[in-house]
Subunit: 245 residues, 6 copies
């Protein structure tokens, strides 16, 4: 099987991170995975959600919101603010983003703060949730650096860097980093979210009107782990370039 953009099965698309993309948020990254581009921002609120106070929970909180710009898809997507509610898909993705980043942060070291992650998809071509998590992880580092510099944080709360990649089975072959056309055709679709220390943060594998075996699982996890190694390197370079300039 030949991939439509000529990539090898275990090859990522072009992955880039433009740090400092927006003017106001504490951390801001435009994450690119091929033709998928996501605006990732971290804004700081000096307050915590009411439920934390009610439950006597100390520290801070990280929450995420995800949305596609209507113009990000080939057929224009209806705006959720017009429909008056979030789609189930958006709701599920933003819960995943928040959970993934919280897993790599010591929330007790964010006393009295809420970090709002906003992932807005500028161009969609598959893998938007993985690009969102991966970009947001960098934006989070930028925001934490600013908070430490401004004296708002005294300790670094970050336990690890996080990245995500999609893998899938298509015509019985494992593929890394699926574009939209591949994703729509795949029998199995899996999102693998890991830390740069090689531990799983989240694993979501799903047969799309299909099922998969233990062998398939092994193939997919190996593909993902190799791809993530490259992505962690690209994150590191983007961050170093930005902070040095």
């Amino acid at each position: 099987m030949e991939r439509q953009d000529g990539r090898r099965n275990n090859q990522l698309r072009n992955v880039e991170f433009a740090c400092g993309f927006q003017r106001h948020p504490a951390g801001s990254v435009l994450a690119t995975f091929g033709n998928t581009r996501v605006i990732c921002a971290v804004s700081v609120e000096e307050a915590v959600p009411r439920w934390m106070k009610e439950q006597g929970k100390i520290g801070g909180w990280i929450t995420a919101e995800y949305q596609m710009l209507p113009s990000s898809t080939e057929q224009r997507t209806e705006r959720e603010a017009i429909r008056g509610k979030l789609s189930g898909r958006s709701s599920e993705i933003q819960r995943l983003i928040g959970r993934s980043l919280r897993a790599a942060v010591d929330l007790e070291k964010l006393p009295g703060l809420t970090l709002h992650i906003d992932c807005d998809v500028l161009d969609a071509d598959g893998g938007t949730r993985c690009a969102s998590i991966t970009g947001a992880s960098l934006a989070l580092e930028l925001a934490v650096a600013r908070l430490i510099k401004d004296g708002i944080l005294t300790e670094n709360p970050l336990l690890a860097r996080v990245a995500a990649v999609s893998v899938g089975m298509l015509q019985r072959e494992g593929l890394l980093d699926l574009c939209y056309v591949e994703d729509a055709a795949a029998d199995v679709d899996m999102n693998v979210i890991m830390t740069d220390k090689g531990r799983y943060v989240e694993l979501q594998g799903s047969g799309e009107e299909a099922t998969f075996s233990d062998d398939d699982l092994t193939i997919l996890l190996n593909l993902a782990k190799n791809g993530l190694k490259t992505i962690f390197d690209l994150q590191e370079q983007a961050l170093r370039n930005y902070l040095e300039n």
Copy 2:
């Protein structure tokens, strides 16, 4: 570590299925996993969603809705119809239920039909999404049997039976079928959904403000696979008893 209800780490709770629990739906099962009880129903609509027609998709559709009765939890849960919208959690769970059951059905063999799965949690003590999927799979078989008997279906669209179980890591030990207290304390929480043919339908593992290793993953998958074997047996018995009487 001793489990709070005295179970071994690899021991299920008491699992039962009461078939024919409600009067009207084509298939109806009360699924019990310990103190968790879920009312699972399959209702038949002789129409398909508009998007299927628009996309020229043939066959039928299966969709699911999930809700907790306000009185199902220790602290009463606010009713989603009163708040005017589904919680992100409910939305995510019902998408999972629908996806899981569609994976085991040949939708082309449900021409012109929509099967509505309703999972309403009567008593909640952890694992409600797994009980929902497992009960709904039986309710689906009952509904299909009725549709065949009534001459509405001529072929059996079911490819496999589906069941689900939760596993988790707590204090570095793997546990099968977590109750609510265990679930809230676990570092890693995984839902494993499989067919009775031993293939994965869906795999969702999530570090709860924690991460997990490849070894953890292996332990959890083995626990789940053994638990699911027992559950498939219990489904089979419940169904046979019901249909013979």
Copy 3:
């Protein structure tokens, strides 16, 4: 005229109350009126609504919510949480349930408490609002007994037991306890809610694209009063059996 299930005009359906049906709520009853079954629960919140504080009202409050499970009807009913709002019918019924139970309670003897009544219809075959009120009245007694036992209440706030029954005129004859088919065909439909001391709590008679005379009213009230006597006996037995075991 012969009734479709062979009952005499002044005969109730099979009426039963299963106490302790759910695990968590302070009081819980499954009320059965023929093929109609309603899950009635009373949950306790140690707080009062804000308007009570604002108006300086002392004591506590009782409020009710009513909903049909989508699978409770022959044609599946759309879920109100999905539509995003309560139907006018549900809203009207839950206001009636709340008002009926408050009428039989000395709210000043519930200091600082809100009792939430949840009536969720499991199977619908006419008379669901009457089954709801009648079951909720028992669930309320169970909850009060628990609150007294737990030392949260020191005095019994209950002034009377409450029950409800529907009556109607069909083909110029008065009928007691209408099932769905009778209810849909009736010219006049009346719900009579009384205390076990023989006083009216609420009376709602309605011509369905028809009207009724003073004589009709007399016939209907007599039917209802006789039926309610039997229902009060059945409530008493169910409660006694449950509390003795």
Copy 4:
């Protein structure tokens, strides 16, 4: 007991009907009951609700909406369009108005038409639902007259004229046509809706944290019936004056 406005217990407030109050609707009446004023309009739509077509029901339909102007109450009432949903109270009242008027119309003689009744409360001082029904009944007659004149209807679909009045028990005395202060203090509150032929359309009696006896019921029904006789006369005069000018 002396009533706050000096009326006898069986005395109505000043009741008036200004026909032709608005410019556009087919029928329009400003109904006055003392300080309560309600704008009642009947607008004609040449279509029937979709459910009528789906159920193969012939004829037409009458539906009602009720709302209080925010400025109609002593403390300004929040606007329901701003809150984004109807209150339970408004929903209940508009269902009552619609039901009451349908009971006095032969819907089969409204082929293909929907009559929309709008009751908007201009000034509220108790009894707004009764003023709404009573005014809407006249507005309906005006609308029907116009439809017959315009040749849209060929037969008169009206079976009777409808009126409504509130009665209540306060300090053990029965009172006719309660103003707001009386209504708030009453132990029992009953709305009686009848045709000018002396038949009941709807009867809604409710103990307000209280109960009532058969004797109370008799007193209240007699008060209401006498009051309604006067109201039917006033409707007749208002209509005749309007149509003659």
Copy 5:
């Protein structure tokens, strides 16, 4: 070009203000511009919006809401409370009304008060936003007079009286005070809101699928200024008549 109601191009419709139209609000006016009638009310709340406190803003606030009665238009307008949200048009108009009246009030002289302006259109025939602003300005004066009389205000916060009128270009001629038919046909539609001291409060000119020149602008502003002089006289007379009686 002859206007459909025979007016000269620079002639207003019949303009009237009925003060004290409703019973409860502090200020109440029924404003008439030809066949357009709007109920304008000012209600007083002894509190300010939360954002004023949060921003440390002193003084008080004025806010407005606008709605059309469903029966105010030739084709009945759907009720916004039923649709569950305000239309864009209503939202835009009520923002304009609030802004226009705030411009003529020294908000610091309304300490701790919110004045709620409600404009409900009784009959619509073009120019409802101008009638709303013009009537609301009078209602505001009535409310302020009552607040001063009641000792709630010690100083008059009003800086000027406000009025509004619509002008438009139709078939290359400028027209004053357009009725609905003219408004729908006009190429340019402009709302001019001024104080009685001859200063602009707000100017909104809009080509309706058309554009306009500087000369058109001059013609329209002159027409509006002349019309507004007459309207200010009529406001003055209505107020004086009302306060003297």
Copy 6:
């Protein structure tokens, strides 16, 4: 008075247009006015709104939606999809954008098409509605060029190019192209939308708790007209550069 960024009173900020900014829409422009950046997209739907069919209107339609990314402001802005409804401000702005662009298009030459304009604010520093209109006008030209090239349109429906700029009075001086700090402090705020043929499309001047004179109006219109000349030149250059490459 010195402007905070050192500009002369009649000087624009840096204005730029990046054509082809997004991948999928038919026309796409990133419009920059100083620190304000707006993503403007035009997507094509091959259908017209239902009301056009119902009213028998021929041709096509142009509609607009406007939203600020939560991360576009100094204090993060709450997402409208989460609140479940559009703010009044967003609703007003998107109505203005749609109206402004429709004024410069012959809608009859868009047979059977709806052009959806999406303006999403990436960074906000005042003047976002003007940047939206100005960028959307270019995006519209790009979309039309593509539609003509693809043979979907045979005639050019564009009547003129449109641009918008804000002007205001601050401390009695007229200023061109206000940034956020100036806008918040201004006494008068005016948005002037014109065609490149020198005609007004829309004029919205508003005293912000202040009023303005005829002389102020003249000053503001002259400032705007001069600024718009420069903007039309910049639009032209951007378009030419893009189409030539």
